[in-house]
């Protein structure tokens, strides 16, 4: 008797009665947030719309998604309104992307609108955050090329460009929150735009710099790449550099990066700040237009040449960041972690201190091989 009672309690007093069939849900693939003229939030959601397959054949040309829009004072309000339009409960756990319109990001605190996604138990912090050139809602009109929804395609665009080109990064809701909550209060959110005004192809291009919740600046793809290198988040990609001899300096050669490691160590003194950065790059030559690397000397020369090029580019970016007092590299957090007393002292005029800091940058390049061909151009002129 006791045993059966225990079993019954185990089974029926647990409160997990949230069973719902898949067909009762509408799976949100992505949302976009814009502002309307009268300062309301314009909320769009892309919901996955299953194509009913009977006997293995899918039904014609109907798209795999439905777009829903609503306007309201808060995101949660709009989100809760989805069933009104859809007839199914919204399921957030598979949300691929959150698109935020550039205009909105410049005027409002992103953290405020994302609050719902951090607080609700159903959402996951794996969704990617993106800032869009112009209005975010426009991107839902695009038709995906390969994936079933544009949301999924945007996500794979970010994934692949982060993994293979190094020109973008995966900024999940979680990273955005952590960065904005950190001492530097600055994060980089990938920026997408349409290739040209009429085009229906999105492209990941550069990053929006978000400081204290608002978008304050835009960095182009090349700068973004350098910052990713400096933050030691570089996954892989290629680096272009001009020819060594001055005559051919219009020609570009490339090196494919196999491994990149950056060591960033700020030195905190009472009144000043100096930052030592060393970047080590291992790579293979990808394209040779003018150089010849057949001897060890030539290799060393080329390595130095590449290193100098990268170093120049990086210095430029760092200068730009210093001028605009953008702590994208998260140096404030390092200071806070290492010397919290010092941080308290400098917290008020941190931007100024960053701008005046001394940066010592060193880049080492190692050319591991010349690829599948020798150290000369494959086809001689």
């Amino acid at each position: 008797m006791k045993r059966w009672l225990t079993i019954a309690i185990l089974l029926f007093l647990t409160g997990c009665w949230s069973s719902k069939e898949l067909v009762e849900y509408g799976f949100v693939m992505g949302i976009s947030i814009d502002q309307t003229e009268n300062e309301e939030i314009e909320f769009h959601a892309q919901i996955y719309s299953p194509a009913e397959t009977i006997g293995g054949t899918s039904g014609g040309e109907t798209p795999f998604y439905t777009n829903i829009n609503s306007k309201g004072k808060s995101v949660f309000d709009s989100a809760r309104n989805i069933p009104v339009y859809l007839g199914r409960k919204a399921q957030w756990s598979h949300m691929r992307v959150v698109l935020i319109g550039e205009d909105f990001a410049k005027k409002h605190n992103i953290g405020d609108v994302l609050e719902f996604f951090y607080r609700d138990h159903e959402t996951r912090l794996m969704s990617y955050v993106l800032i869009t050139n112009r209005k975010a809602a426009d991107y839902w009109e695009m038709k995906p090329f390969i994936e079933r929804t544009i949301s999924q395609e945007l996500r794979t665009i970010l994934d692949s460009s982060a993994n293979f080109t190094g020109k973008s990064k995966k900024s999940m809701l979680l990273n955005v929150a952590m960065d904005l909550k950190s001492k530097s209060k600055t994060t980089l959110i990938p920026y997408i735009k349409k290739t040209d005004n009429d085009s229906l192809a999105p492209v990941a291009n550069g990053a929006a710099v978000v400081q204290e919740g608002k978008m304050v600046d835009y960095l182009d793809a090349a700068d973004f790449e350098k910052i990713i290198m400096l933050k030691n988040e570089y996954k892989g990609g290629i680096i272009n550099f001009p020819c060594m001899d001055k005559e051919n300096d219009k020609l570009q050669e490339t090196i494919e990066v196999a491994a990149l490691e950056t060591n960033l160590s700020p030195q905190f003194n009472q009144e000043s700040l100096s930052i030592d950065i060393t970047t080590k790059i291992d790579g293979f030559l990808g394209e040779l237009q003018c150089s010849t690397v057949t001897t060890a000397d030539e290799v060393e020369k080329l390595e130095k040449h590449i290193a100098k090029n990268i170093q120049d580019d990086m210095n430029q970016v760092i200068h730009y960041l210093q001028e605009n007092e953008l702590d994208v590299l998260g140096i404030a957090d390092k200071l806070y972690q290492q010397k919290p007393q010092l941080w308290k002292k400098h917290e008020a005029e941190w931007g100024k201190m960053l701008a005046e800091s001394e940066v010592d940058l060193e880049v080492e390049v190692k050319v591991e091989s010349t690829g599948m061909a020798g150290g000369e151009k494959v086809v001689e002129e």
């Binding site: 089974l11 997990c16 949230s18």
Partner: protein, 499 residues
């Protein structure tokens, strides 16, 4: 119909042959296949005798045994046939005189009856209170030794047991030529009077287990026994458990392997199934063929069987839990694929799977009972028409059809049929739990199953050993199959064996 045969006559063989004849007539009223065959012998054929037998159980051409015996008698002992008298017969047989046809002396009437019933020819002589019983003529058509259909192997012996107890014991003896191999035999069953034999390897078998077994097997004397399962139910610990607590085999080599591990085997006249007890859960994943193949391959197959076990047990419930409670755990692309197939299905996932499992079990059951020629038609109807049509009619989604089929196949991959069906039984409560509580329900289900398994015993042995209680040495034969060098040299085994 458990009716004890009532005997009110004294249990002796009368000196008067007509009295015996009457008794037999009375005992076997309405047994049309009983032949009672009176004859005379000796000088001027004045000595009376009769033989009695079931003509359905003896070979007619072998019925000349008596003549042959008499001829032997004549030449050896007494001279011309006309001069044989009762005294000669008695002297000859009671002193175990040798003749080409050996007879057994029967001393009581009941024994005579039971000899007749077991297919012997019994001869009564006028003036002798004993009878002769000949078993050589016994001939019931039996199946030849063939490959056991339920346990066929690629490599290894292809012999299987038959329905005759003696031949089965012979099959075992030829493989285990050791005087420590004991075989005890007795008659059991109230009405059926079935011959039952149990064997064990003295010195290897656990004494306590054997004593327990002997204690329990006594209970088999009452009920009727037609098959080995009748014995199992009598001796097993928990009749209501879904899990089998004893193993069966029709392969002599499997039985010998079990004997060498210290098991007790039970054989029953009239069936080829050998009962191996006690049975442990992990043994249901072992096949004799594992030891005939290379170590790596056998270990790989073992692991596959264990995966199959968990698939068969939980795959449907995991699907239900994931789709109805935890859609966030499904990878997005897979989820989209499932969504596409689920759209338009009018049933909840649980009902959908339950319907398909019901279809599957129905087809399986139909396939077993039908004659082989029609059986293939069932599988065609099942696989092609019902499977395809269920999808087209939006009763089931392709994902569920794949899942149920995979579950079924996984359960067939487990070598012992008895545990395969028990898994299929257990998967249904698990499905219900997961439909009510999701992943949490599966967890509860697993806990309940584990509680049951760990508390179960087979002939007093813990059912879940060697995992709990943990026996590290024997683990080497559970998930993998260690080389025989390691398995057989286990010092524990060697010490125990004492042979």
């Amino acid at each position: 119909m458990r009716r004890q045969i009532v005997r009110n006559q004294p249990d002796v063989i009368s000196l008067d042959i007509t009295e015996n004849q009457k008794q037999i007539d009375k005992q076997f009223t309405n047994c049309s296949d009983l032949k009672l065959f009176p004859w005379q012998y000796g000088p001027k054929l004045k000595h009376k005798a009769f033989s009695v037998f079931f003509h359905t159980m003896v070979q007619q051409k072998e019925l000349n045994y008596m003549k042959e015996s008499m001829q032997d008698l004549v030449t050896h002992e007494v001279g011309p046939a006309e001069e044989v008298n009762l005294e000669d017969v008695i002297r000859f047989f009671s002193k175990n005189g040798i003749s080409s046809q050996n007879a057994k002396i029967v001393k009581s009437f009941d024994e005579a009856i039971s000899n007749v019933l077991s297919g012997n020819v019994v001869i009564f002589f006028h003036g002798w209170d004993q009878a002769l019983s000949y078993s050589q003529a016994k001939q019931v058509n039996v199946r030849e030794v063939t490959e056991p259909t339920g346990e066929s192997v690629v490599k290894g012996p292809h012999e299987g047991t038959v329905e005759q107890l003696d031949r089965n014991i012979g099959l075992l003896r030829t493989r285990l030529q050791n005087s420590h191999f004991k075989m005890e035999q007795f008659k059991a069953g109230g009405t059926t009077q079935t011959d039952i034999a149990y064997g064990y390897l003295d010195g290897v078998v656990d004494e306590g287990t054997l004593a327990e077994f002997k204690q329990r097997i006594k209970r088999a004397k009452k009920g009727d026994i037609l098959e080995t399962n009748y014995i199992e139910e009598v001796i097993e610990d928990n009749n209501y458990s879904p899990l089998p607590q004893h193993r069966y085999t029709e392969r002599p080599d499997t039985a010998i392997a079990a004997l060498l591990e210290g098991k007790i085997v039970v054989l029953v006249q009239g069936t080829g199934t050998i009962l191996i007890c006690p049975g442990l859960l992990t043994e249901f994943f072992q096949v004799s063929e594992d030891y005939y193949h290379r170590v790596i391959f056998s270990s790989f197959i073992r692991l596959i069987r264990i995966v199959a076990f968990f698939l068969a047990l939980t795959l449907p419930s995991i699907f239900i839990a994931l789709t109805t409670f935890h859609p966030e755990l499904i990878p997005t692309n897979l989820l989209m694929a499932i969504l596409d197939t689920r759209e338009g299905i009018p049933f909840p996932a649980f009902v959908e799977i339950a319907i398909m499992i019901f279809f599957f079990e129905l087809l399986r059951e139909a396939g077993i009972r039908l004659p082989k020629t029609i059986g293939s038609a069932v599988s065609i109807v099942g696989a092609l028409i019902i499977g395809e049509a269920a999808i087209n009619a939006n009763i089931a989604s392709p994902a569920v059809v794949i899942l149920v089929a995979l579950t079924g196949i996984a359960s067939f991959a487990i070598p012992q049929y008895s545990i395969a069906i028990s898994i299929r039984l257990m998967q249904i409560p698990l499905m219900i739990l997961s439909a009510i509580l999701g992943g949490f329900g599966i967890m509860i289900g697993y806990i309940l199953i584990m509680i049951h398994i760990t508390s179960l015993r087979s002939l007093g042995q813990p059912y879940f050993s060697p995992l709990t209680p943990f026996r590290p040495r024997q683990i080497l034969d559970v998930f993998i199959r260690a080389p025989l060098k390691i398995l057989q040299d286990s010092p524990r085994k060697r010490d125990k064996r004492n042979i």
